[in-house]
């Protein structure tokens, strides 16, 4: 076998292995999920402590959000299509919950901390709902929280435009008042379904 072919083959194997590992990491297995006797999910093995900066420039940790349910979405402001749609869905969930929505805190965590500084986030989130909190941080802080939520994100450069876009996973995560992740919803899940799940948890 020619040397270049052999190198190509080895690289291909490494790439496949890496993709498989990524796919594995992204998958949430049965033993990552804990349910109560009623079948209601009480925890998903993800989430946890974080150290970030909110859209007003204040340092915050996960402790700042205890006591309320939290809906978390990871996105970025340069996102042309998916993120506005998902944030609109989050706002619709709050709408559906009516008065109960005060027990839910909506958060957007940026996966593009380079551009999404607090003031940029601040202007963006107010377009969707006045209670959304935007979180940013250093590249390291964002990487840490993204890893805890198993969020995949990657910068996509295109010579055709002067700015970059991002590929990313786009789940909406539900965290309970104790800080435990209890659900995640695929992009496109109807807001009414998310609201129903929250209501079920509120009833216990």
């Amino acid at each position: 076998m020619k040397k270049s072919t052999r190198i190509g083959l080895i690289l291909a194997i490494i790439l496949v292995a890496a993709l498989a590992a990524l796919a594995e990491w992204l998958v949430i297995r049965d033993d990552d999920i804990t349910k109560n006797p009623n079948g209601l999910i009480t925890s998903v093995k993800m989430g946890g402590a974080f150290n970030l900066i909110d859209h007003k420039g204040n340092t915050v940790t996960e402790k700042n959000f205890l006591g309320n349910y939290v809906l978390v979405f990871f996105g970025y402001t340069f996102c042309p299509d998916v993120c506005p749609t998902a944030l609109a869905d989050v706002a619709l969930v709050l709408d559906e919950l009516g008065r109960d929505s005060m027990a839910v805190t909506p958060i957007m965590i940026t996966i593009d901390p380079k551009r999404d500084k607090p003031d940029v986030l601040s202007e963006y989130i107010t377009l969707f709902h006045d209670r959304i909190i935007g979180l940013t941080g250093t590249e390291k802080q964002i990487k840490e929280v993204a890893e805890k939520y198993r969020v995949f994100y990657r910068r996509v450069d295109d010579q055709e435009y002067s700015f970059y876009l991002m590929d990313h996973t786009s789940f909406i995560y539900l965290v309970d008042p104790k800080g435990t992740v209890i659900s995640l919803f695929r992009y496109g899940t109807p807001p009414s379904e998310i609201a129903d799940t929250i209501r079920k948890h509120m009833k216990g």
């Binding site: 402001t77 340069f78 299509d81 590929d167």
Partner: protein, 173 residues
């Protein structure tokens, strides 16, 4: 009584002045309800969604688009690669089969305004010239809705949709 009449006139005048055509005809193609979303002053890309009905017997393609509001306009699709959302350029244009309707909407195919020259505000209109393989070209005006809007047909958050005082646009005025 006079006040009621005056009020009605004012409302009608207001509706007329904010009326925007929501249908554009080009040969066998009918482009309906083009709409866009408001952006923040930092965002450099915008979207335009619309429906295209091809009532002819020949398949056509939306091959290109241009707008004075952005440096470039591209045609994109959203691909779900496992759970990763990826945007992809539509290489040969959007196919509009004969006797069918294609919808460009959130989470699916859409027109991207790349390198916005200004912020898009709710209530404004965005002019885009669409180039079709067979039908030729036409300029459409997309109405800008809220950033989180589902568009003229979808369920929206805030009650006041710009110019949307009657069902299905303003063709009847």
């Amino acid at each position: 009584m006079f006040l009621k009449i005056l009020f009605s006139f004012i409302m009608i005048a207001f509706i007329h002045s904010s009326a925007v055509a929501s249908e554009f005809q080009l040969g066998n193609l009918t482009i309906s309800d083009p709409w866009s979303r408001a952006t923040s002053s930092h965002q450099m890309s915008g979207v335009v969604y619309l429906r295209i009905l091809n009532s002819g017997n020949q398949t056509d393609r939306l091959i290109k688009a241009v707008s004075i509001h952005s440096e470039k306009v591209t045609l994109h699709d959203m691909i779900l690669d496992g759970d990763i959302m990826k945007m992809q350029s539509i290489k040969n244009g959007v196919e509009i089969p004969a006797n069918s309707e294609v919808e460009l909407k959130p989470g699916a195919k859409h027109i991207m305004l790349m390198g916005l020259k200004r912020r898009l505000d709710r209530g404004q209109t965005v002019s885009v010239t669409l180039h079709f393989q067979h039908a030729g070209m036409t300029e459409i005006k997309a109405l800008v809705f809220d950033a989180g809007s589902r568009g003229p047909k979808g369920k929206n958050l805030k009650g006041n949709m710009p110019g949307n005082h009657s069902k299905n646009g303003h063709k009847s005025h």
